[in-house]
């Protein structure tokens, strides 16, 4: 399972036949191959940055001014793959793509913006959950006690669950 799977005609067909970035995002998120690639990157985190950068660089060679960027479906899919991965490379790709406003790539920045939005929502809700603790003094009449310790959840666990 490598990133080149994102170049498939099936993924391209999804992106080329649907009209809104929301619809593309929703359909891509439900695909099993996208989830498998995300899992593969997560399991090989050490090599992920190099693999992502190389994949992006190789495709950008085909970017020609005033011609539609042929790898836009793959970039949409890559954005969805990286949505929940706890890696600086994922954050970099999504942040940079979401602010790109060029005529050659009209859809993928919008999909990336949706991914980034959800990524931040997950992070915020998990951060809140992470610090939720039980009442230290449930009853003023009872002796001070901590009836249970808050569950410790690492950020890696959160993303593992989300992925």
């Amino acid at each position: 399972m490598t990133l080149t799977e994102l170049d498939s005609d099936e993924i391209a067909q999804t992106v080329f036949t649907l009209a809104t970035p929301n619809a593309i995002y929703a359909i891509l998120r439900a695909r099993s191959d996208i989830a498998a690639i995300r899992r593969h990157l997560f399991d090989n985190a050490g090599e992920a940055r190099r693999a992502i950068e190389e994949y992006v660089r190789e495709r950008l060679i085909d970017l020609k001014p005033k011609t539609y960027f042929p790898h836009e479906p793959a970039f949409c899919a890559l954005a969805v793959v990286l949505e929940t991965l706890p890696m600086p490379a994922a954050e970099d790709f999504l942040s940079e793509l979401s602010v790109l406003k060029i005529a050659e790539m009209p859809i993928s920045p919008r999909v990336a913006a949706l991914c980034l939005q959800r990524r931040r929502e997950i992070l915020i809700s998990n951060t809140v959950a992470e610090f939720k603790v039980g009442p230290i003094q449930p009853d003023a009449s009872s002796p001070r006690c901590i009836d249970r310790l808050p569950m410790v959840t690492t950020r890696t666990d959160i993303f593992k669950a989300a992925a």
Partner: protein
């Protein structure tokens, strides 16, 4: 990572597009497709052999641009569609009403609009069957236009709910 795209790409271009009520509709024109994208469109068309091709793969507009912007630009945001439907006096067709030429078919799934097509004609496929709408679709922002049975759509759209909208009184 995407520095090269910023340097090579050209700025997005939209046009002035408004609803009947004068509210602006956000839009942007798409570039013309490259060879690989054109080949991908041909590959899709081979799968749906009953489609009648009206126009080969082209840029500029998407299905919403075909229906509401006279093929001049592409509309991408869900909120803009709601704006158009409201301001332009569209209503959902009641179950007992007959669809007519020019009515709009929206393919929706979980609150997302996946595609829009315009009704062209009603065709009777078999002698005793009822007449079914054939519609005109523009696929995405860089594929072409096809005339097809309203249920003969790509796999991702097949599971959608279908809404028929009209601006008729």
């Amino acid at each position: 990572m995407l520095e090269m795209a910023r340097l090579v790409g050209t700025p997005r271009k939209g046009i002035i597009l408004q609803t009947r009520a004068g509210r602006n509709v956000e839009n942007s024109q798409s570039c013309e497709p490259d060879v690989l994208t054109r080949e991908r469109y041909d590959l899709l068309r081979r799968k749906y052999y009953s489609w009648i091709n009206r126009k080969p793969a082209c840029g500029v507009y998407n299905c919403f641009g075909l229906v509401w912007a006279s093929r001049r630009t592409a509309i991408y945001d869900e909120s803009e569609l709601s704006k158009i439907l409201t301001d332009d006096g569209y209503r959902r067709l009641a179950t007992e009403e007959q669809i007519q030429h020019g009515d709009v078919i929206l393919y929706r799934l979980d609150g997302n609009t996946l595609h829009a097509a315009m009704a062209l004609e009603l065709r009777q496929l078999q002698l005793e069957s009822s007449k079914m709408p054939w519609v005109l679709s523009k696929w995405g922002n860089v594929f072409g236009e096809d005339i097809h049975h309203f249920l003969d759509v790509p796999d991702d759209i097949r599971e959608c709910s279908i809404e028929i909208w009209t601006d008729r009184p």
